[in-house]
């Protein structure tokens, strides 16, 4: 009876262990691994190791939750909505896995296993406690020091904000290809702002308050010089592709000197979207990004990210 339960649990544990590398959703993969540990814990319960068994569940549940969170942080596609394969040296790995299983299994089957079960009625938890405080005291305290080292290492390696400010202050991440643009998050100002500007260039000050000063200034100058050239800012490509600096610089007309006041007027009724539509209807219509809400949301989202 116990053996049957153990077989079922073992099959469940192996199956969930296998599912870890087969499911698309990374969160499911982490929790499949947790189920595999729970199967181990169940076998422990059956094998008169109540403490180790239940504590395994407790420890592994926590660890797998952290694992799932890191999955979401680091996987391109954490939910596996579009399947992709992220494996290398696949045949070699399968071979290694099979050889390991076959070797260990053969060793198990061929060797003469000892047979002396735990005496029923032993208080195994108290035994472990006495072992910890008595003969294995040094192991216990060494584990403490090791865990301390782990905590320090984890903080040093992963913490972004230290006592002296951001760990990566002023640094730019390397490009995705040699000499390319910095990848991902940019330290100070970057693509995100350009994006936001494209939106509010046309739509009043949805994001002006958050924009960095020089950017805002250039855009204002740029917006103020008349109808037609202003359009570059309206088309989504122009907004996203052309970054502020040169763009603004080329159009820096006399308005630059008084851009504060000029900006207000330029953004007044003359630049309202309806008016724009009259002047340049197709372009405005073709721009899906021209929805003020969408831009506002994106702008704020990015700012939230950077702070």
């Amino acid at each position: 009876m116990t053996d049957l339960a153990i077989i079922l649990l073992a099959l469940f544990g192996v199956w969930t262990g296998w599912r870890v590398f087969r499911v698309d959703s990374m969160v499911r993969a982490s929790f499949a691994l947790m189920l595999s540990f729970i199967a181990t814990a169940g076998i422990g319960l059956l094998l008169s190791a109540p403490y180790i068994g239940v504590a395994t569940v407790f420890m592994m549940a926590v660890e797998m939750l952290v694992m799932a969170i890191f999955m979401v942080m680091f996987m391109m596609n954490p939910a596996g909505l579009n399947p992709m394969s992220m494996v290398h040296q696949h045949r070699l790995s399968i071979g290694a896995g099979v050889v390991a299983f076959a070797g260990l299994g053969a060793a198990v089957l061929l060797s003469d296993l000892p047979d002396s079960p735990v005496a029923p009625g032993t208080d195994v938890v108290a035994q472990l406690g006495f072992e910890l405080l008595g003969p294995s005291m040094l192991i216990f305290e060494t584990a403490g020091v090791t865990l301390l080292a782990t905590m320090l290492g984890a903080v040093i390696l992963s913490s972004r904000q230290g006592r002296f400010g951001m760990a990566d202050h002023g640094s730019r991440p390397p490009g995705l290809e040699p000499g390319g643009a910095p990848a991902g998050r940019r330290p100070e100002k970057g693509g995100g702002h350009g994006h936001g500007h494209g939106g509010h260039g046309g739509h009043g000050d949805g994001g002006h308050g958050r924009a960095s000063d020089d950017h805002g200034g250039e855009h204002r100058g740029h917006m103020s010089d008349g109808d037609h050239e202003g359009h570059a800012g309206y088309s989504p490509d122009g907004a996203m592709g052309a970054p502020g600096p040169e763009h603004g610089a080329t159009h820096r007309t006399p308005a630059k000197s008084e851009h504060g006041g000029e900006h207000r007027t330029a953004h007044g009724p003359g630049h309202a979207p309806q008016d724009q539509k009259a002047a340049d209807a197709p372009q405005e219509d073709a721009a899906p990004n021209a929805d003020p809400h969408a831009h506002h949301r994106k702008g704020t989202g990015h700012d939230g990210d950077d702070t």
Binding site: F31, A55, V57, A79
Partner: protein
């Protein structure tokens, strides 16, 4: 015998769920609101049950259906280790408080999955926030339970109840119950520690829930409240110990008391942001539970 006991636990759980729901609807009276009668929860649930359950776009369907089930099951498993009478529990586990600790950890995961599965922003925000808070909350919980295990010289809840014959742990370890209430608020998603739900993120993990799914989730939260209160009653208030009345009645009374306390605490304590709560948990509650453990150790020696 144990089947009967299991049926008893189930009935007690159902009654406790109803009582908890009523407490929740009584609580507004404290702030001058209108208190509802004892039938109000049943009416609300019936209304939920006849409503449709809307599906979201591309959800993790299996986890969405089963998250409330895991939550309910974990509450029931946690309740199973609580002794209903002296020396009698559904599950005579020698490591009862570790079992409860595992249930806590798995409840945090269940809430995370509940927020993950609908594939919608607000539930996900709730899930991540709750994970950030749920992890450190487990530390005070474990310290408090370990402190209660010291005088009993056992991890079994039966032994812990037995060790309170002379004086309850509430007296010997006065900090224990308040610290444990923080854990209860977290596990039952209530008040200041309800970072999974909450109106500030439109209902959080259950923002997309409706109909039977929402009903099950509410019931599971209340079931966890019952299990938590029964465990707290057993660990701090001597569980089924008491004069005259039979053990199960004492346990039920004490459980109801802790439930009312938890509902009150959830109602009266102010909320704060998750980042600040994280700071409070690590910088105040964790040292406090260290101190609690040290004092309890001295007392037990």
């Amino acid at each position: 015998m144990s089947v009967l006991l299991a049926a008893g636990v189930l009935v007690a759980l159902a009654l406790g769920i109803w009582l908890g729901a009523w407490f929740d609807r009584l609580a507004p009276a404290l702030e001058g609101g209108r208190a509802a009668g004892p039938m109000a929860p049943l009416r609300d649930w019936a209304a939920l049950l006849i409503r449709d359950q809307a599906e979201t776009e591309a959800p993790d369907r299996m986890n969405r259906l089963l998250a409330p089930a895991w939550y309910l099951a974990l509450a029931a498993i946690g309740l199973s280790v609580v002794p209903v009478a002296e020396g009698l529990a559904l599950w005579h586990s020698p490591v009862g408080i570790v079992v409860w600790g595992s249930c806590e950890a798995l409840i945090v995961i269940t809430v995370f999955l509940h927020g993950w599965s609908p594939n919608a922003p607000f539930p996900l925000i709730g899930a991540y926030r709750y994970a950030a808070i749920g992890l450190p909350v487990m530390l005070p919980s474990m310290f408090v339970l370990i402190a209660a295990a010291l005088p009993a010289e056992s991890l079994s809840l039966i032994a812990i109840v037995d060790s309170q014959r002379d004086s309850w742990n509430l007296v010997r370890q006065p900090l224990g119950l308040p610290l444990f209430l923080v854990v209860g608020l977290t596990l039952t998603l209530r008040g200041p520690l309800d970072f999974a739900g909450g109106v500030d993120i439109a209902g959080g993990t259950s923002a997309e829930e409706s109909g039977a799914g929402l009903f099950l989730w509410q019931v599971a939260r209340l079931a966890t409240l019952v299990a938590f209160s029964a465990l707290a009653a057993a660990v701090f208030l001597g569980g089924p110990l008491g004069p005259l009345l039979p053990g199960p009645v004492w346990l039920a009374l004490k459980t109801a008391l802790v439930m009312a306390l938890t509902v009150l605490a959830g109602r009266l304590i102010a909320r704060t942001t998750p980042s600040r709560m994280l700071h409070v948990l690590w910088v105040w509650l964790l040292p406090l539970s260290f101190a609690h453990l040290a004092v309890s150790g001295m007392v037990a020696l």
